[in-house]
Amino acid sequence: MPAVAETLDTVRAAAEGGYKYGFETDIAMDLAPKGLNEDIIRLISARKDEPGWLLDWRLKAFKAWQSMAEPSWAAVKYPPIDFQDLHYYAAPKKKMLASMDEVDPELLRTFEKLGVPLAERAALAGVAVDAVFDSVSVATTFKDKLTEKGIIFCPISEAVREHPELVRKYIGSVVPAGDNFYAALNSAVFTDGSFVWIPRGVRCPMELSTYFRINARNTGQFERTLIIAEEGASVSYLEGCTAPMRDENQLHAAVVELIALDEASIKYSTVQNWYPGDAEGRGGIFNFVTKRGACRGRNSKISWTQVETGSAITWKYPSCILQGEGSIGEFYSVAMTNHFQQADTGTKMIHLAPRTRSTIVSKGISAGRSQNTYRGLVRMMPKARDARNHTQCDSLLIGNQCGAHTVPYIESRCPTAKIEHEATTSRIAEDQLFYCRQRGLSQEDATGMIVNGFCKEVLAELPMEFAVEAQKLLAISLEGSVG
């Protein structure tokens, strides 16, 4: 039997062990009725005690959404989604607790199963955790330390109440309410998410982190995150996700907006491990995400790093709009698909100003019968004098039933702009596997090691504690997935 086929067998056997994070938590839910209409939006807005302007904004987005069609250009196939058959609001009944002691012990156990013992982990790693459990934030830590620096890090619903002027100024300014089908849906029904504001000249003293988790059955999760770095400010934000095992597809349509002013920098790192569906392609999360950052200021910088191993469908293009002269956009991505997973992911780098620079490093790994597409746009506008882009796009195939596709869109309207694109596609070589096994590594460990090596450039961009987690995640996804 050829080595690769044997690898896949090993992996298939391991896959029967099941999804490591597949469990469901039994916490009483406050559930809105299924379906989407103006009344549901009013209900969400009322539950959150929102001001009138935000309700109006939601309703406008809903109107826009109603007139839009689901996008069909991505290389993903899935059964039609019945948007009226979903719950748009679910919240654990106890909410906004004053201290950790008041948190539902069941919930804490869930975090522990996920390997996120909230308090200890936060304390040990120096990470402030704004834990999103379904839609309502349950606990926020390290707030005092951040407050001292004047940093705002809170659930976006709280920001709407406490800092309405900031939210109103920036929300929808990077991803407008009617930007695209899923962004419009999110704008209409988002229930929570994080808000970060770093004041002028402040470097955020710790990594900011949120653990998202979808839990309620049939509840689409619509997170909305807004991060603003004022002049000379800097922040690193980590987002990590796992979800319980289930049969039905779940919709996830998040929106993330980043705004960097003069000399500011924002680093946004994601590890995404939502339930990918089973080995036959049943179930799994549908992940339609709009992430976009605006480098508004001179020499500002926005850096996206993502490790995507989960979800049945991934539709995600974290992008940078380089408006400020000399601003920098970066996109580092690992996307791993297995079984029947489909990923269509990449980035857009829109160069509007002189001397702007962008770097794209994309590593796609496909196994099983999965399809993995890199889709990226680099656009140089007429004023982007001496702008530069470098794109490196590598695909690794495991087995012979999967697909890797690269779809670069390159547009230059500026003669002095430079664009470089490199792409490779390879297989895990038999001689590499044999070499590792001759040294005593199992087929599975050997494959994990080779894949981690393939992704190294991207993993190196993650903050330390996240990089370790991501490596483990790739190995876990390999056990139950790749080979």
């Binding site: 001689d431 096994r437 005593g440």
Partner: protein
């Protein structure tokens, strides 16, 4: 004890080994010489269990257990080590990480405790020093961007750390200048031990001046055509394969 009996093997349906018998006792070093295409490397791969090298008849046992029935990693755990003629590059995989993972996989398989990063680093640094390699070697990706000599030294480093019981060195001398050859040979000689058997595959007798074998076998056209003491290597050097009546 390595005991090979009447071993035949094919690659892509072509018979390369045509009935090889060989015994190597612990503590001994046997050299296998022979012209290109005689099947030397194939023998190494068959013993290590490479895919695509199909054994059609005969047997190979190591201390009584059937080598040919084991997976490559099981053979490694049983003490088999193959120093590759062309060491394979593993982009992005750090040498230290690779070696420690390999060592711990083997230790686990043997029921020994794993080595932590600090213990391993101490061990690796000591072995690097012996081979005249800088510590920086541990940080680089496995064999990526290594010169020919560095790759061969890296193989010996792995051998020194993994401490195999049966070491097969496949043309470890090829591509080495005389200084590098000496360092590699010193590394191999340092690993000679009463409980360790070695099979040294080489083209040239110059390596055997530095690693003095107990026995020399000449492989030609898939068969061992002549065996003898180290003087056989000298005879070969003087007369060439043709002088022994073998087509080169």
């Amino acid at each position: 004890m390595l005991a090979i009996e009447n071993l035949a093997a094919t690659v892509d349906g072509k018979e390369i080994l045509k009935g090889i018998s060989l015994e190597v006792a612990p503590g001994q070093v046997h050299a296998i010489m022979g012209p290109n295409g005689s099947g030397k490397s194939t023998l190494g791969y068959v013993l290590a269990g490479r895919e695509g090298y199909e054994v059609t008849s005969g047997s190979a046992t190591w201390n009584g257990s059937d080598l040919l029935a084991m997976e490559p990693e099981e053979r490694a755990a049983a003490g088999v080590f193959l120093a590759f003629q062309y060491p394979v590059e593993l982009p992005g995989v750090g040498n230290a990480n690779f070696l420690r993972t390999a060592l711990n996989a083997i230790r686990r398989a043997r029921g020994e405790p794993e080595m932590d990063a600090m213990q391993f680093l101490k061990l690796a640094r000591a072995e690097l020093k012996k081979l005249g390699m800088p510590d920086e070697m541990l940080k680089r990706s496995v064999n990526v961007g290594f010169s020919g000599g560095e790759k061969k030294r890296n193989e010996i480093l792995q051998m020194a750390i993994l401490q195999p019981k049966l070491a097969i060195l496949d043309e470890t001398d090829s591509g080495l200048d005389i200084d590098a050859l000496r360092i590699v040979a010193d590394g191999v000689n340092a690993l000679r031990a009463p409980d360790r058997a070695m099979v040294v595959i080489t083209h040239y007798q110059r390596l055997l001046e530095l690693i003095v074998p107990d026995q020399v076998h000449v492989l030609a056209n898939g068969r061992i055509v002549k065996s003898g003491g180290r003087e056989l290597a000298l005879e070969l050097e003087a007369k060439g394969y043709a002088g022994l009546g073998l087509a080169a």
